[in-house]
Amino acid sequence: MSGLKDKKKQRKEFEEIALVHIDSLYRTALYMTKDEQEAEDLTQETYLKAYRFFANFEPRTNCKAWLFKILQNNHLNRCRNKSKVSFLEEFNEINPYCFQLIQEEESNPEKNFFKNLSSKHIRRAIEDLPEEWRLTVILADIEDYSYKEIAEVTKFPIGTVMSKLHRGRNLLRKKLLKYVKEEKLIKE
C-alpha cells in the first residue's frame, strides 16, 4: 500500500529530525513536572502532537525549539487542569549577587562547595524553582538556548526572559548553597 510507504518515510524523517531531541524534552518535562510518570506522559503527548502536525513544521527552522513550544503549551494546559503553581513573594527578595557566597564557600578549603555538591542537590534545587524561572534556567543552562530562542519558546519578551533567568539562576545558587550546607550539618 503506497499510503503506508509514504507514512513510513515521513515517520523516518520525523525520527531523524525530532525524535533525536527526546532526552532534552524528557529532561525538561521531568524538571517541570517533578514526576517521572508525568514527564513520560508529557514527552509522549508532545511528540504525538508534533507528529500529527509535522506537515506544519517548516523544515529549515529550529525543530528543537518547535518541540519545546509544544511541550510548554501541553504543560501549561496540564497545569491549568490542576492547581496553578504558586509564586511566592520570597522569590522576589533574592540577593542578586549570591554567587559571591558560593565563591566564598568554595574559597574556603574546609567547606569545599563543589566537592559536596551532588546530583541530588542539583535536581532538588532545579525542581524547587518557580515554574517560569525553571524553564528559562533549563533552556539556558542545560540546552544552551539563546535569549531569543527562550523568548520564542516561552512567549516572553527578551527583557522578561533576562530578568527571569537572572532571578532563577540566583535562586538556584542560593538553594544549592542551602542544601549543601544542610547536608554538611547533618553529617557533622
Binding site: M1, G3, L4, K7, K8, Q10, R11, F14, E15, L19, I22, D23, L25, Y26, R27, L30, Y31, E36, E40, T43, Q44, Y47, L48, Y51, R52, P96, Y97, F99, Q100, I102, Q103, E106, S107, F114, L117, S119, I122, R123, I126, I138, A140, D141, I142, S146, Y147, M162, L165, H166, R169, R173, L176
Partner: protein, 263 residues
C-alpha cells in the same frame, strides 16, 4: 566600567548576549580585576557541574518505543481515513446530494405532518355519537322533561357558561327535554327530539376550533358545516358565534331534512 556595574553583567557576558560595546568594556574590566576573574571561574565551574549532572538524565528506553508505536498507529488510522475520504473533486457533488437529501427529508416531514393532521380524527364526533346512543337506548335520561322552550332556557341558565337559547322549534318535532352534558370538560346542552319513530339529539357547546379532521366539510346557503358518521350515527356540526351546534341521528335522510330546515 566599574566593578559594581561589571558584576551585574557577568551572567549576560557568559551567555554571550552582551552588546559588543558593553562586552568589550566588561572584558577590559575583567582583565584587570582578579575578583571578577574569580567570579567568572566559579560561575563557569558551577555551570559545567550543573550541566554535567543534569545531562545525565536520559529518557527511559520504553518511552521512545511507545512513541514510535503510537506514531505507527496514527499512520495506520490516517491511511484508513484517507482511503475512505471523498475525493476533493467529488465533494461538491456529495455536498449537493447531502443537501438534497436533507431538503427531501424536511419536505417529506412537512407532508407527513400535514397528512397526519388531515387523517387525524376529531374527538368531538365519537363523543356526540356516544351521547346520542346512550340517550336513544335508555329511558329517563333527561334532567328536565319539558317541551316548553322558555322553561328549558331558564333551567339551563347558570348551568352552562354561554347564553343558551333553543335554536329551532317546529310543531312537527316533539321536544322531549334536556340534559346537562359535558364536552371537552365544559358544560354542554343536550336536547332530545322525537320525529315519528326517529330520535334526534341536539347539542350546543363551546367550541374554539374550526378544525374537524375526519369530517367532510360542506357549504349550504353560505354556511359551512361538517358531516361525519360514527357508530352508525350521522352527525352534522356547524359553528356560530363561538358556539358549536350538532345534530345527531341514526337516519341520514331524516337528519338532512331537519338540518335543511335549520341551516
Amino acid at each position: 566600567m566599574d566593578h559594581l556595574e561589571a558584576t551585574k553583567h557577568i551572567y549576560t557576558f557568559l551567555d554571550d548576549e552582551l552588546s559588543q560595546k558593553k562586552g568589550l568594556a566588561l572584558k577590559k574590566h575583567i582583565d584587570s580585576c582578579s575578583d571578577c576573574q574569580q567570579r567568572i571561574a566559579t560561575e563557569n565551574k558551577l555551570r559545567s557541574v550543573l550541566k554535567e549532572n543534569l545531562l545525565k538524565q536520559k529518557t527511559p528506553f520504553y518511552v521512545k518505543e511507545e512513541i514510535k508505536n503510537e506514531m505507527e498507529k496514527i499512520d495506520r488510522e490516517s491511511v484508513i481515513r484517507e482511503k475512505y475520504r471523498i475525493p476533493s473533486q467529488l465533494r461538491p457533488i456529495f455536498v449537493s446530494m447531502l443537501g438534497g437529501l436533507i431538503f427531501l427529508g424536511v419536505i417529506s416531514g412537512i407532508f407527513f405532518y400535514k397528512w397526519q393532521e388531515a387523517t387525524r380524527e376529531s374527538t368531538i364526533f365519537p363523543r356526540l355519537a356516544a351521547k346520542h346512543i346512550v340517550f336513544a337506548s335508555q329511558e329517563n335520561l333527561v334532567d328536565i322533561s319539558s317541551s316548553d322552550m322558555e322553561e328549558l332556557v331558564t333551567w339551563f341558565k347558570g348551568k352552562v357558561d354561554f347564553p343558551f337559547s333553543v335554536p329551532f322549534y317546529s310543531e312537527e318535532l316533539d321536544l322531549l327535554g334536556g340534559r346537562l352534558s359535558e364536552l371537552h370538560q365544559k358544560g354542554a346542552v343536550h336536547l332530545f327530539y322525537q320525529w315519528g319513530d326517529c330520535q334526534f339529539s341536539f347539542f350546543t357547546f363551546e367550541c374554539a376550533t374550526k378544525n374537524f379532521p375526519g369530517a367532510h366539510r360542506k357549504e349550504y346557503n353560505g354556511k359551512e358545516y361538517y358531516i361525519a358518521k360514527y357508530n352508525d350515527q350521522f352527525i352534522i356540526l356547524w359553528m356560530s358565534n363561538g358556539l358549536g351546534y350538532a345534530l345527531v341521528c341514526d337516519d341520514e335522510e331524516e337528519l338532512f331534512e331537519i338540518a335543511s330546515q335549520i341551516l
